[in-house]
């Protein structure tokens, strides 16, 4: 499939377009946040505490009187960054491990995949909580924790693609012509294994945002006064009876961003790799 054909297919697919619109809007907010946000995200305004949505504060104010819309806009930067960094942390080592295990096979494969099996034996959120507790609560550590948890997923996906690809004639012929392992892996196998990796990485962005928000909610993620959506939701929990909007809006923001990545990922899967379709 040519590059233009693929682009045309992507634009014809309703899911990719809807996903692109949602994620695009949030990316726009993330980039132009400081220009768009109506208030300071950190400055407390004690006289405006826990106000309901109004013309001045479209989404109301939190327990310190800060504008929730402003904090959500600034929080979009954190969430998008978490998604990108955490997925990179899982993707790079996961892909390398999957390539090595699938290509060289035998003992190396057995060792790598058994270690991956051990990591997969833990429920993901539990493992993330565990790693975050070891590293200490912070935004950077959240991204590391969420990233590490998903390394085995990428390793498995890449390995299974490599196992199929290395038996293909075009790979075999390069091998018989004396092509080096590095050349075979990086010039012939990896480019052909990219489709499932891209699809999984897009869906993984949503998962990473959700997991990071969960860590923030449990107090193991970004620390106050950072406007991280999970942490904002956790703070709003204390005022659920008085002012439910403080918890409701950050949660809706998480839902929207994750939905955007998931819809986009579904569309990408349909176009790039229909065999993965469920």
């Amino acid at each position: 499939m040519g590059r233009w054909d693929m682009l045309r297919d992507l634009l014809k697919n309703k899911n990719t377009v809807l996903g692109m619109v949602i994620v695009g809007c949030i990316l726009f907010l993330a980039v132009f946040g400081p220009v768009l946000a109506p208030y300071d995200p950190f400055l407390p305004a004690p006289l405006d505490r826990l106000q309901l949505p109004s013309r001045e504060h479209w989404l109301g104010t939190d327990s310190l009187g800060r504008d929730i819309l402003t904090r959500i806009i600034y929080g979009s930067r954190i969430s998008v960054m978490i998604g990108l960094v955490a997925v990179t942390i899982s993707l790079v080592p996961g892909t390398v491990l999957g390539l090595l295990a699938g290509y060289f096979g035998k003992t190396l494969d057995a060792v790598i995949m058994r270690v991956m099996d051990v990591l997969l034996a833990f429920p993901a959120i539990l493992m993330a909580v565990f790693i975050a507790a070891i590293l200490g609560p912070s935004l950077v550590n959240t991204m590391i924790a969420v990233g590490i948890v998903y390394i085995p997923h990428y390793a498995r996906i890449v390995r299974s693609s490599v196992l199929l690809l290395k038996e293909q004639l075009f790979v075999q012929s390069v091998s018989h012509m004396g092509g080096s392992h590095g050349r075979i892996i990086f010039s012939h196998i990896l480019p052909n294994a990219l489709a499932p990796i891209i699809v999984y990485a897009t869906l993984g962005m949503g998962t990473a945002v959700l997991q990071a928000a969960a860590l923030g909610f449990l107090g193991l993620g970004a620390q106050p006064p950072q406007p991280e959506w999970g942490a904002m939701l956790s703070e709003g929990r204390q005022y659920l009876q008085l002012a439910p909007h403080v918890a409701a809006f950050p949660g809706l923001a998480i839902l929207l961003l994750v939905l955007g990545f998931n819809v986009f990922g579904d569309g990408l899967r349909d176009v790039l790799d229909p065999t993965l379709r469920t």
């Binding site: 051990v118 833990f122 539990l126 565990f130 507790a133 969960a214 009876q241 918890a247």
Partner: protein, 337 residues
């Protein structure tokens, strides 16, 4: 599935458990902070700290600590909780029952409604029913569980006040625990007031926990059903004049069950993970909340035990799925790969 395959699976399971125990043991030792200091406070003298470290075995080499840990664990002794001073196993058993009750309830809701939504979606493909069900499923997998829980609490417990806000039973309710499962124990005691109370407390957390698995089950059921419904034997069944409900439920769903079973197994793991968050929100006295509290309190023994139990449960579920697979489809001869 013959016995050699089952034994190979069990050997694999044991190897994974050894790996899990090493990972948990080493990672816990990497957590910054001295548990002895945490227990005795900042004012403890160096002698007191040394004595407690000795009692807890923290002054021995890692290898010795690990060997003792494995030996004790195999004997069912998970050590003493560093926070409460009671044996960890005594704290875990009632909490495990609470988590099992919540997870099973969540799984039942997810399975029943997920499969129903998937079937309706497949039968009414490309109609409003299909679009609504699949959009709901997409929203379901994208929803932060802890947010949904809070919103349900606000709507049903705070605003309409028709559901309890937290816990497993009303404060002050006494019942002699037999299985540790409130609903089962209430039925054994024929105490229907407690049964009703337990059920009311279970609904919101179970619904919260079921959302993501329900959405995944609905999507996989739809695609499995669509694949099966194109087969010749479905056309034959219809041509014979069989009732549509029989065709769908017996012929189509019966054959679409394999991928659904796999997803059910995978989702049980998701459910166990989801319990960590759901239990925190609803103050559900289960293992998920306990493990988070123990991690925050650097209670090594409790965390070790909980995580191992979670991992064993997940491994057993996977083994169960493999066995069930072979049971449902005799053509499958799992070769262990």
């Amino acid at each position: 599935m013959n016995s050699s395959v089952i034994s190979r699976r069990i050997v694999q399971l044991i190897l994974i458990m050894i790996g899990v125990s090493v990972v948990v043991f080493l990672m816990l030792r990497m957590i910054p902070g001295d548990p002895a200091q945490l227990l005795l406070g900042e004012l403890a003298s160096p002698e007191e700290l040394a004595a407690l470290r000795h009692d807890l075995g923290l002054d021995r080499s890692l290898l010795v600590q690990y060997t003792i840990f494995v030996k004790n664990m195999l004997a069912g002794d998970f050590g003493i909780s560093m926070r409460t001073g009671t044996p960890v196993i005594n704290e875990i058993i009632p909490r495990l029952a609470a988590t099992v009750e919540l997870s099973v309830a969540g799984m039942v809701i997810a399975t029943v409604f997920g499969i129903l939504a998937g079937i309706l979606s497949a039968v009414y493909k490309n109609t409003v029913v299909d679009y609504t069900a699949m959009l709901s499923a997409l929203v379901g997998v994208s929803m932060p569980v802890f947010w949904l829980g809070l919103m349900l609490i606000y709507v049903f417990a705070v605003h309409f006040q028709v559901m309890p806000m937290m816990g497993r039973m009303e404060m002050g309710t006494e019942m002699h625990a037999i299985t540790g499962l409130v609903l089962v124990d209430a039925l054994i005691h024929m105490d229907f007031a407690v049964f009703k109370d337990g059920l009311r407390h279970l609904v919101l957390p179970a619904v919260t926990l079921s959302t993501i698995p329900m959405a995944i089950i609905a999507r996989i059921t739809r695609s499995a059903m669509l694949e099966v419904m194109n087969q010749d034997y479905i056309r034959t069944a219809r041509a014979k004049g069989m009732e549509e409900s029989v065709v769908i439920l017996r012929h189509a769903l019966g054959n679409a069950f394999l991928p659904i079973i796999t997803v059910l197994g995978i989702n049980m793991g998701l459910l166990l993970g989801g319990a960590v968050l759901t239990e925190t929100i609803f103050s559900w006295p289960g293992l998920g909340r306990y493990v988070v509290d123990s991690l925050m309190g650097r209670d090594y023994n409790a965390v070790q035990a909980c995580i191992l139990i979670f991992a064993v449960l997940m491994a057993l579920i996977n083994l169960g799925v493999d066995v069930m697979y072979a049971f449902l489809d005799p053509r499958i001869r799992v070769d262990g790969d």
